[in-house]
């Protein structure tokens, strides 16, 4: 079985809660259960979008961050430089592609933390480049953390 896909299933669950269950929630609890239904529906929408977009977003993000770290490692003092270079050499063995990309992202982002902490001058070109990367990182997450939502979350 290939279809329905996981996003299809999540969409159906969200639609059923929203269309058939939530309107009939009449618990005498000041609207708390109905409010929870709204949160659940929007979290399902987020999960559906994340499944669709996360792998490509992480692959792109890791590649950009890897290049940034490789470019600026030489500007760092010895100790943080070793930390950054070790992160660039690290291999990941998680069983799924997304799992590997997530592990790689954690390692590279930790190395970026090290780089930022080692460069106290906010105007250093590496810090400026890091901020540009962070801006794009935010944009990459937008599909599932902004665009996916269709209504109130509570």
């Amino acid at each position: 079985m290939i279809e329905p896909t996981v996003p299809d299933v999540l969409a159906a669950v969200a639609a059923t809660i929203e269309r058939d269950i939530a309107p009939n929630v009449v618990a005498d609890d000041d609207g708390y259960t109905a409010s929870l239904c709204r949160t659940v529906v929007q979290m399902l929408r987020m999960a559906r979008s994340r499944i669709e977009h996360e792998e490509s977003a992480l692959a792109e993000d890791n590649a950009e961050l890897r290049e940034l770290l490789a470019t600026w490692a030489s500007a760092l003092p010895a100790e943080p430089r070793r930390t950054v270079e070790a992160a660039l050499r690290e291999k990941f063995a998680a069983p799924t592609t997304v799992g590997r990309l997530q592990d790689e992202a954690k390692s590279l982002r930790s190395a970026l933390d090290t780089m930022l902490a080692a460069l106290p001058d906010a105007d250093h070109p590496a810090r400026v480049a890091a901020r540009e990367y962070l801006r794009r990182q935010l944009e990459r997450q937008r599909p599932w953390l902004v665009d996916a939502f269709t209504g109130p979350r509570r």
């Binding site: 708390y32 982002r109 930790s110 810090r127 509570r154």
Partner: protein
């Protein structure tokens, strides 16, 4: 075990704890839908005191089954209300914290406070009808009056220095916020977040040193946070982000209570007028620079509690509200940081 959803159990509990009552009958126990960070329950009771019957309502507060969103202990929240009980600041009266396991509803710590009659919603605030202008300005002034009251309270006399961080001097108010944030994060941050590292670095570099005083600050405040009745705030609620510091901290967390009103090109109300009104009432100046600074700090604070939610999920919590905080709210906190640190995304106006 006492079950909070069982009216008979709650009656037994209240008979045991409520001071000066001959008898208690619980009419209703219901959970309040507002409030994400902790559970809030309302208990309506009929009590008999010295042979006289009365209808009363109480609030029970406790952590979510999976822990809290904001990493502030329940007892600290109780202690804030307890300290304010005899001050001019209007709050509901904290009665007791249930630390005896035999009486804890569902085996979880809880505290009880009086319920103040009123409502949180001011529907006219979003109106664009000129007929509502006067009411909007009056409500804004009332809120500013109450903030002035909080900020001029003698916090040392009330014992707030025993439950919160006291900045070494006015000059240290801003860096103390950052120190507290770093101390918070050190206890639960499990995932690197370079945006936070960058923001902390920038905000430390440009921390203002001109706070006019060290004041009791409420934290989140404004529409949705306070109890209103007859055009007045009768109880200031939600003190989970309280601290001792620069009053600008509170203005950075003020929600919807400074409406911008311009009619026929004439400015009737907005931030400059509100800050001037507040200065007249309190004697405290809030500069735009400090206001802007603490707005950026609020991005860090929001990240802290959103990441704390993620931490709770990581260690086994399964509340969908924690998941929401851990995802969308955490992302939005970074939007605030990125905007404040000069690298907002071109498309990110969420």
């Amino acid at each position: 075990m006492i079950r909070l959803e069982n009216e008979g159990d709650v009656a037994v509990w209240f008979r045991h704890r409520l001071p000066g009552v001959d008898d208690v009958t619980v009419e209703r126990v219901g959970r309040v839908s507002r409030g994400v960070s902790r559970e809030t329950w309302v208990v309506d009771v009929r009590v008999i005191r010295a042979g006289v019957a009365a209808e009363e309502s109480y609030v029970v507060r406790r952590d979510l089954p999976d822990g809290t969103v904001i990493p502030m202990p329940l007892r600290e929240e109780y202690e804030v209300y307890r300290r304010l009980a005899d001050s001019p600041v209007p709050v509901s009266r904290a009665l007791w914290i249930e630390d005896d396991p035999r009486w804890q509803p569902d085996g979880r710590p809880a505290y009880v406070r009086t319920k103040v009659d009123g409502h949180w919603h001011l529907p006219f605030l979003t109106s664009d009808d000129p007929a509502d202008d006067e009411r909007k300005i009056a409500a804004s002034k009332e809120h500013l009056d109450k903030l002035a009251l909080v900020h001029t309270t003698d916090w040392r006399a009330l014992g707030f220095d025993r439950i919160g961080t006291v900045p070494a001097s006015e000059k240290h108010c801003a860096t103390t916020v950052l120190d507290d944030i770093e101390a918070w994060l050190a206890t639960f941050q499990f995932e690197p977040c370079p945006a936070v590292t960058e923001a902390l670095s920038q905000l430390r570099d440009r921390a203002p040193t001109d706070a006019p005083c060290i004041a009791l600050c409420k934290g989140t405040n404004g529409h949705g946070e306070e109890v209103w009745s007859g055009g007045q705030i009768v109880a200031l609620s939600d003190w989970e982000l309280w601290r001792l510091g620069d009053p600008a901290y509170d203005f950075a967390q003020l929600q919807d209570m400074v409406p911008d009103i311009v009619r026929d090109g004439r400015r009737l109300w907005g931030w400059p007028e509100a800050l001037e009104y507040y200065r007249e009432r309190s004697g405290i100046e809030i500069s735009p620079e400090r206001l802007s600074y603490y707005r950026a700090c609020y991005g860090l604070i929001q990240f802290c509690y959103a990441h704390h939610s993620a931490y709770r999920v990581r260690v086994g919590a399964s509340s969908v509200r924690l998941v929401w905080n851990a995802t969308e709210v955490q992302y939005r906190s970074q939007l605030k940081l990125w905007a404040a640190c000069g690298f907002a995304p071109e498309t990110g106006s969420a």
